[in-house]
Subunit: 704 residues, 2 copies
């Protein structure tokens, strides 16, 4: 973990390239610092001025009386390298390069950016940016940027830290969070991340006792494995990371490229891996404030079950719709709870969940609070949503106090929504002051609750030390399909029997021994797309058929690739699967090895129906992965299809996961495709491709 003190708690700042025109962009950092009145020392640096804003202006950073903790650099791009060098030579703690014109402009800019980082590193100086707006310490009221609005939070605990790549994104996001009255501490924008990254900052904030929730908005995580380690650390500390990924789509990634130089990764992989690590990913900026608000309350649902108590029937319907759509559950109240609730309802009404107390029930002055107390009691649910009517004057304030008291006395998360508009503002504030997170609508409350529930549903990930490739006797070079299947068999994974035959007679012998219809496939480390070249013959039932097939496939191979090394043909029993799966592991360039499980065949190519996890997996991940698939019903048994044997599939998946984890960098990819599910539900691997990271060796793309 890097020491970020000079950057985050500076006592002095040099502003290199400061302008005497305080309202211009390069003038504003000094203007903001003066206006903030922070008491830190400010040194404008500009050879053309003697003074700026009443401060002495220095011609060169070399002439500063002290080595500044931070140097803000605002010069045109061409002058930045010299400024960074000068700052480093003067012993500056951290350079914050606001100037743009580096990696976001292309290859040449990327090169110049690397040189900046080298320069800074050579002087032991941190470098934030380039192409960043800088950073703000909202708690302290200290701006190191040109976009400071002067707003600081009412609550000064600094419990919320914000780390983004986009500069303007950081400033506007923080202002939105201040609208939510959130206790902001630091807001830091890393820009192009030549040096200090989002991960460095997250690691730092995780260890700050004051910080309880970290927010991040990013385009590309460049140090993925360390980022995931930071996520595990935050999760273990009970501090949620609320994340928004920019550039989820083709168009968005393309824009991100020219914004901060970010490279597109696989968004489905990122999404799954974030969730696996208990990161609370949001879909939109507007979700961040509500999610942080709920997270600060410090209680996280243990599961997906919740109750809704409200005085609006329409709100109850909306909550029920969102629950179904987000996979949350609304279990019925227990008989004991129903008995306690019944007196609050009109005679003919049943006690459902969600519970609509109706306007009539509101005759019992604090009915909502009394019923909340019942709903949060016991083990029926993991959380409660309470919806109050707005515009209720003093009564509304008194009810707010009662609701907050009741919620505080329990141990489950309680989220509130207040229907109506701005006339509900006093109630909203009163509930919030009482510790209740308050949302603008039932839909927002349910969506936030679902997001919160991911925190505890994510299992802690304790990663064993990788055992190394030798532990699994990983082959080398570019193994053929036959060699790969044999290797998998030795690893304890059930594969289709494959016997290698060098002659037609041998093939006939093998077929006879198998005593079933067989398939012949050409075996060669050099031949891809066996089916396409005629190198596969199926459903051979007698010696003549086998002989003819042997000649046919070997002949086809010789014609298609005369120079290919032919090991012979493999002879395997025909398999009639009820279903085909794919199980594969690939190294994601940003996040490391990721396992995919899905349905095989054309439909998966079109539908992309896969579930993803970073390795190593937990056995409990496998049933959850199956449930994520759109074809989950098929795997569990529908319309006459026997189910997949869950234990056997779990064993296979965990084994593949363990192999990938242990082999680490030596393994680029392992695809088991297809994994046939036979009539008894057992998985059998029919074909596999192993891609090793070795000098020059590229495995053929296998086809069958």
């Amino acid at each position: 973990m890097r020491e970020l003190g000079p950057l985050l708690a500076p006592r002095s700042v040099a502003v290199i390239g400061a302008s005497g025109t305080l309202d211009s962009l390069p003038g504003r950092p000094v203007r903001n610092l003066l206006a903030a009145g922070t008491g830190i020392e400010v040194f404008p640096v500009n050879p053309r001025r003697n003074g700026i804003g009443g401060l002495r202006c220095y011609p060169d950073v070399a002439e500063l009386p002290v080595a500044p903790d931070v140097a803000l650099i605002l010069t045109p791009a061409a002058a930045v390298p010299a400024a960074v060098e000068a700052a480093g030579r003067r012993g500056t703690g951290a350079a914050v390069v606001i100037s743009a014109g580096f990696a976001e402009t292309g290859e040449d800019g990327a090169r110049r950016q690397r040189e900046l980082a080298d320069t800074a590193r050579a002087h032991g100086m941190l470098l934030l940016g380039p192409n960043t707006i800088g950073l703000h310490d909202y708690r302290r009221g200290l701006p190191l940027s040109f976009v400071w609005t002067g707003r600081t939070p009412e609550r000064t605990t600094g419990a919320v830290a914000v780390v983004t790549q986009s500069g303007s994104g950081m400033a506007s996001l923080c202002d939105r969070l201040l609208d939510h009255d959130l206790p902001l501490g630091h807001g830091v924008a890393t820009g192009n991340e030549a040096d200090v990254s989002v991960t460095d900052l997250i690691e730092h904030f995780a260890e700050q006792d004051d910080v309880r929730v970290v927010v991040t908005v990013f385009e590309q995580i460049r140090d993925g494995e360390r980022f995931l380690a930071a996520c595990r650390r935050l999760h273990a500390l009970g501090k949620p990371l609320v994340a928004l990924k920019l550039g989820r789509t083709a168009s968005g990634s393309s824009v991100a490229r020219s914004h901060t130089g970010a490279l597109a990764g696989s968004y489905p992989v990122l999404r799954a891996v974030l969730r696996q690590h208990g990161v609370l990913e949001v879909d939109d900026l507007e979700d961040i404030g509500p999610t942080v608000t709920a997270a600060l309350a410090g209680r996280f649902p243990a599961g997906r079950r919740f109750a809704v108590v409200t005085s609006s029937g329409g709100a109850a319907v909306i909550a029920a719709d969102r629950a179904d759509e987000l996979g949350m559950e609304l279990p019925p109240f227990s008989p004991a709870a129903r008995e306690r609730i019944r007196p609050y309802l009109p005679d003919l009404a049943a006690v459902h969940n969600p519970l609509d107390l109706t306007a009539q029930a509101m005759r019992h002055r604090f009915a909502l609070a009394d019923v909340l107390a019942v709903a949060q009691d016991g083990d029926d649910v993991d959380a409660v949503l309470v919806g109050t009517p707005s515009g209720a004057g003093d009564y509304g304030l008194a009810l707010a106090d009662r609701l907050a008291e009741v919620a505080a006395a329990g141990d489950k998360p309680v989220l509130s929504f207040i229907l109506g508009g701005e006339e509900g503002a006093p109630q909203r504030r009163r509930q919030r002051d009482g510790g209740l997170p308050v949302f603008r609508s039932p839909g927002e409350a349910v969506a936030t609750l679902e997001r919160l529930s991911r925190f505890r549903r994510a299992r802690p990930r304790n990663l064993p030390e990788p055992a190394g490739a030798a532990a699994h006797d990983l082959p080398s070079g570019a193994p053929s399909e036959h060699a790969t299947l044999s290797w998998l068999q030795r690893c304890g994974i059930a594969t289709v029997e494959q016997r290698l035959a060098r002659t037609a007679e041998e093939a006939i012998q093998h077929a006879g021994a198998l005593d079933r219809p067989v398939a012949l496939k050409i075996s060669s480390p050099d031949i891809a797309h066996k089916t396409e070249i005629g190198g596969v013959a199926l459903d051979l039932r007698d010696a003549d058929g086998v002989r003819a097939a042997f000649d046919a496939v070997t002949g086809a191979a010789a014609r298609a690739m005369p120079s290919a090394r032919l090991d012979g043909v493999t002879v395997s029993p025909m398999v009639d699967p009820v279903l085909e799966l794919i199980v594969g592991v690939h190294r994601d360039p940003d996040l490391g090895p990721v396992l995919a499980l899905g349905l095989g065949g054309t439909w998966t190519e079109i539908l992309h129906d896969v579930a993803l996890r970073a390795v190593p997996l937990d056995p409990a991940d496998v049933p959850e992965m199956i449930d994520e698939l759109r074809a989950a019903a098929v795997l569990r048994g529908a319309r006459g299809r026997p189910p997949v044997d869950p234990a056997a599939l779990t064993t296979l998946v965990v084994t593949v996961s363990r192999i990938a984890w242990d082999c680490g960098d030596a393994l680029t990819g392992l695809d088991l495709n297809p994994v046939a599910i036979t009539a008894d539900g057992a998985p059998v691997v029919l074909d596999a491709l192993l891609q090793l990271t070795a000098t020059g060796a590229v495995s053929p793309v296998v086809g069958s």
Copy 2:
């Protein structure tokens, strides 16, 4: 269309069951009317009081000096029938029954509710409710409910009408819309809809010149075909209907049942049919305000292409992500446009769409407005989003004015988003006053734009007069598969050849004539699930096979259903489809006949991958339906599959649609399943089920 004057523009109101305790629920309607000071005549009716709130209180509605336009009824459920009768007898224009305890409680309540409607009808009196909070005329400041907050809109054009079923939903929604400064006119809640329905009100508001946008929130549309006619009328008048459906899911529908007695319909059908009619459906209450705001600007994008001009790179990425996710397009700027924009950008920056002007570009004071002028010019895009920085003091206000001017001078929709928080409020108001719809985030702006684009993308629906079942020689009774296929053939739809054979010899003859492998299927109007009972034999290649199969299937049928009428067996050529589709029409209980097109087979059962339209379709609907399918790529040709011949498929679908439309009520359902797509891309119907609405006749559920 019903005359709703007494309800919506009353000059006098009786409050039956008014309480002297003005702050209690039954006291509030009088209290609200007094506070509103509307000048209309108010007559409290309560035998136990002489006066309420300074007004003379009458013991009975019969004693009122005039026949009131409206009677608000607040008595307990048991007293409601008498109150409705009394109001009717006194010549009341409209009864508004606030009391609950009717259809939402079950069968007995539903019966009592029908009696209320009968009573009202007998007196020529309108009835709103029961179980409604009532209605508000926000423009006039006239409350007929117990939940009035006293808020009225700044802008009093009454351009927005709100019609809901849920009562509390109406009031809180309207308050939220007032927060958005929307010019609300009426807000009406229909409750259980014993008489006056959402459709009645929508029909009425469509014809009001002042009303430009109608908002509706509903649980069940009970008069679907009239509702759709109202949707067509609104669309033709250029007035968007913004709709939110409550109870989209199993849980939500269940709650809605006990809320207003609403019955669950098919949500996917409703969603598709609303879109087909240009209705702007939202997913959440919170989307309504932004959508109405944009709709009031009066410009609707002609298509899906738009440009984004902003000074925030992060916002540009977010906009691009949402565009991809919502199927909107960000085309590149034309070369001419690029030339005009280039001077505003830093030297190294390219002119992309979305366009990030960056902070540097903001040195040109009104760069955003100048670039907006270029972006909205020409035919490259259908709409423009502009994103401004917030907190910019006087400059921000001046920029707001410039942006509004530029947008007004063009003819495309321009939507604005302002980044940051409440410090942007003055700018937001200034832009809004200038006529720009302003949103809270780029994501919200893109989603709203997509929703707006549905208005003009929906084709006007001009429905021909149905020609009647005789025009298609619709069979009667419960036709067998064979008879149905023959009928379809006569309708001009390509079906697989099917020859009926009564004996094995006939079957052999037919097979010989077809000179291809054949399938034999038992033909009987009484046998469902032919495959399951062994009534189907496939791939028969010679006379012996046909003979044996004939005996086998007829024997199996006789054993399985000894009393079934056997017409014989059908002999058809084996078909090897590259793909199978389903084309079906069913009468939705709320919305009338709806056509479904999708992939056949197990995957569709699991994935529910169908596209839906109300009949009659437009030929142009068919390619759009194909694009909606997740398997669209398969139909258009992927991985060696020849495409479906789009013209042939369109012809088939339009023919089925026309048959269903013309046959009207006589036809309950028509399923073509499977429709085989052969190697040349042509659709051939292999099997079909026709369900007719006839006394007692129920067709077998066909299986093959």
